[in-house]
Symmetry: C2
Subunit: 329 residues, 2 copies
Amino acid sequence: MQDERAGADGLPTYADVARAAERIAGTAHRTPVLTSRTADAMTGAKLFFKAENLQRAGAFKFRGAYNAISALPEAVRARGVLSFSSGNHAQAIALASRLLGIPATIIMPADAPAAKVAATRGYGAEVVLYDRYSQDREALGREIAGPRGLTVIPPFNHPDVIAGQGTLAQELIETVGPLDVLVACLGGGGQLAGCALAAAELSPGCRVIGVEPEAGNDGQRSFHAGRVVTIPVPRTIADGAQSTALGDLTFAIIRARVAEIVTVSDAQLVETMRFFAGRMKLVAEPTGCLAAAAVLQGLVDVWDKRVGVVISGGNVDLATFARLTGEAA
Amino acid sequence: MQDERAGADGLPTYADVARAAERIAGTAHRTPVLTSRTADAMTGAKLFFKAENLQRAGAFKFRGAYNAISALPEAVRARGVLSFSSGNHAQAIALASRLLGIPATIIMPADAPAAKVAATRGYGAEVVLYDRYSQDREALGREIAGPRGLTVIPPFNHPDVIAGQGTLAQELIETVGPLDVLVACLGGGGQLAGCALAAAELSPGCRVIGVEPEAGNDGQRSFHAGRVVTIPVPRTIADGAQSTALGDLTFAIIRARVAEIVTVSDAQLVETMRFFAGRMKLVAEPTGCLAAAAVLQGLVDVWDKRVGVVISGGNVDLATFARLTGEAA
């Protein structure tokens, strides 16, 4: 099936996902698809968990980062890239840049956890710290990027980032066959939009559902309002989904391709982390549990269906993980 | 290569492993093989982790339990099975029995963790509690098994249990190709012996190495002494490797097929649990970390080699996991 929209209005299409898959092949992990009879029994569904917590740098973000940097014209790429992030995107950009042999600059808040700064530096990136209370990181980014000719790679609102994230759904459907439902995690929308592109092509009729934190339901509100709604920085343990608004590209794809957006509470995320650790022997970060929390706790209709569920990442420090999962439920 | 020893002296052979693979196909998980560039960089090797913590009931034990019960003549099997264990073998027997529709009786110490008793009952087994200070569990087992016609399935010293465990190495080598070294965890020797049978057939020349807890080095001592050495119950966090002696079958295979047995400390096991959780996003139980601890901490020669490493199980309660991994290193 050809996508009739191909390229019009700057939105990525399935063809971009397929090209991304070629670019990342052999570099990104083809992560395993895991199943759990316990989870199936809890839900009455056949669940296929795509374990992106086992991806390089610990999250699906590596797919989009590596694809976006690889797609740059060689001369542009050689000058280097810049990104703003204190989270998984930063580490993904840093690792992808190192693998492609180009310099990466990451703008991080001065009060970011020392471990995250160290990890990003550990991948060879230059980290520029800024004061998040007095400095505008985007202005600072432009100041640094301009003279050096660095290309800014945003965390989600970019066609090649979206297309890269879509490869996870492509692999999932290739591995297990068509799905009735695909449930993805939703922050800025790169994962959800990319997965929706892949599902529409490879599993037509599949209902694609996004799950975001209750406190950060800008996606759900935007979906219902028909325009991008911006909210204050949400308070949630899902630190990878604290974005305040979808991007115009991710919103356009989500609006056209996604069936439903639901929200889960922090308590439901913790319960899901405990399920993954106790029953499936996996470390998932809170944000990585969004999709599974909605499915395991009956917030979406999966009865008797074949359901893909994205575990988006596993980057949680061990002390936090212990605190969240180690106490009696 | 035909195994010249086939069947002589009651030892299982590779043919038994191949038959076990057929019996468990579609019932046991074909667990993923995971890789980590970080681990490769730490060791200078190419490491292939066989993730049996993702096996059904959380450990490789399901392979041997299901194989041994399946192999019983139908009329014998129908009467049911009995086992002694407070650990992974008990849960494996309970689950395998349920799947095969036969009754299972498990003899467990009265002071076993309530969670383990509940899990075993949860799989549908009848649990008989005994006082480990005043009662002989084997005598009690015979008392119960005899009149009911139950077949006792021991945790390791049984040809079909050994052959079943060997299927994990068979799958690993089938998936990644020949190995230079295969490192397995060693308690009573079922896993190590089974893996050695598979490796000898499928990857001739592969050095098979067993790893046991420092405090419970009966395997190493037996290996060097040329006879089965019995030790007191060892104090170690590797609760799945607190056996006091190899069996005659496991010892005979290990002596003939294994290159080396090394030991690791509890501190090294904890460090390895932290590595798995923090870097590979996996929950592994202490016993499940034996093989990896020896490899990651340089106790075996793996430089520039292709190395299989068994992660044998993930059954650790979350509070213990949090306590062991959540504190600063």
